[in-house]
Symmetry: D3
Subunit: 127 residues, 6 copies
């Protein structure tokens, strides 16, 4: 099988590496970027579109992770979305997209893998 591709956007290098490793070990193909701008550029260029997005909320400059997820869902309403944040979790109720998961730091790598897997598994088959 070709890989299921996840776009991973995180601007802290150590975390980016740790998350990428966990997702790769779990069998996902990962496109790792370090800003919201690059994330949106990749989403717009990806062919076929990404199956899921794992995104930090705050980057050094806009767009933020809330924007990244909205763009991903405009391109494909079925995209699995996992937000990662240390202090933006309370905004999830007003700024998040439906059927997404907010992982607050700290979390274990198994939580990240379970979150994205569960969201992908819950997508309704095409009709």
């Amino acid at each position: 099988m070709e890989p299921v591709t996840i776009l991973l956007a995180e601007d802290e290098g150590l975390l980016l590496t740790e998350f990428e490793q966990a997702l790769t070990d779990a069998g996902f193909g990962v496109v790792a970027v370090t800003s919201g701008i690059k994330a949106i550029k990749h989403l717009n260029a990806a062919e076929p579109c990404m199956h899921g997005v794992v995104t930090d909320i705050r980057f050094r400059e806009p767009p933020d992770g809330w924007d990244v997820a909205r763009v991903a869902r405009e391109i494909d309403p079925e995209t699995a979305v996992v937000y990662i944040s240390g202090d933006s979790a309370p905004d999830w109720a007003s700024k998040g997209v439906p059927n997404s998961i907010m992982l607050e730091k700290p979390f274990a790598m198994a939580q990240l893998v379970t979150a994205i897997s569960q969201l992908l598994n819950d997508r309704s088959p095409p009709s």
Copy 2:
């Protein structure tokens, strides 16, 4: 018991009346408004804050229903949100808030009452 109060925003008069009647019969207190502007004005003024919001998406002028829900959730992250729409349902995946329900027209009044009841019942008790 004092009533549970729902803000209902719908600009078509006949529908507004039908929805208000259904919610009132179900035991809810209803504040009915006919535009997004009035909805947001009420949300900001309500004391205590509204328990839920039932909102159409498109009004004659901005803000739209997506904005209404975001404001409601900024004020109270636990607000129950039900969107009503004829043709904006596909945007729910990118513009809706988490743990909300999109009711596409047509729907039966029981679906509206069940939707808002279920969302209110699912809110986690305060800790």
Copy 3:
């Protein structure tokens, strides 16, 4: 709004009347039939297709309710399905369709209305 239409198949006259009344009071449009044959005939002829199916399992002759639900889902994979049964509930795990609800007799009319409403509300918006 035009009504949301539910196909109701039940061969006991008293129950058929009671269920039809409960669904109508809840705001649904109901097409009531007394056999699996008539149910499938209606499903094939309905234009637009039915939004939901409430079906007894056993009729005096085949097809049974399991067949009715399968045909409904072949026509529209999003159809809400509620099975009603006195003694066929254990077969639900092997003969039912996914995302359906089995109501075992006895049940209250509110359970029927909640079941069909919840299934309709959970259908993912079109993308």
Copy 4:
């Protein structure tokens, strides 16, 4: 069909009447009692056992509503349980039983009916 029977335990007379009316209108058979002692007496005597329990938390004397629910589940692990409370909701996480719903006052009658219906509908069919 014979009725689905719900045990309702609430010591404020006006609320007891209001809840009993809502459940009866929804098609349930209701056994209404005004204390935890009477609730447990009824649970132990009921033949066949009650399908669901709607109970206040605090009564004038012990046992409390947490006890009532535990006894109901010891008799029938599938019993639907809805707790009603003004100020005991925070204890639900440590004192409630699994797969139960806590309704905090105030709530609309539709929330009570939806809660008990949803719990009854979610019970797995017997195997």
Copy 5:
């Protein structure tokens, strides 16, 4: 502890090996077969019965994966069922069993492990 046993039916050798490895690494005992016939033979002979089934839909000859799952559920209504398919996913709504998961290719191995784990964890304890 003795292992939890999963029946895995897949007729492409490379995929069979990959799935078997992923499930074994996750701690499951796996019985791997290459056809629907062999799958059903194993289900009928297994003592005690299999805890879960992971099955491809199409095999070189009947029975297909829909049949395999139905037989598994007739033997044990609590069996966890995961379907795997490239192009049969749209039929899940009419041919699948309730409380099952359809994994469409491509998927990551973590999705397979999460799917079967989640289904096993959701089974209600015996009463």
Copy 6:
């Protein structure tokens, strides 16, 4: 990131080691104890409080695992709770806490990791 910490209480040494290894490999920090007494001592002393509890039901002396979970939820109502048991599973419906998972032996290590991850991911973000 600092680790997410799970309290693991199990009195059989081989199982304790196996569970600890699985949770550690999944990225969790684990505090392993061999009795209910020690578990409750750790819960009361932990600063900050434990994110989750994985507990056997029966220990050589009281308190049992039901008590451990109740204490954990009194300290933090959001604590993720997974019970492990060979023969106490039927009591979960009356003695368990809400939003907990009962894992009956035998189970695969992936089920344990998925259970605790899913419960942690489902906790509502703070508001």
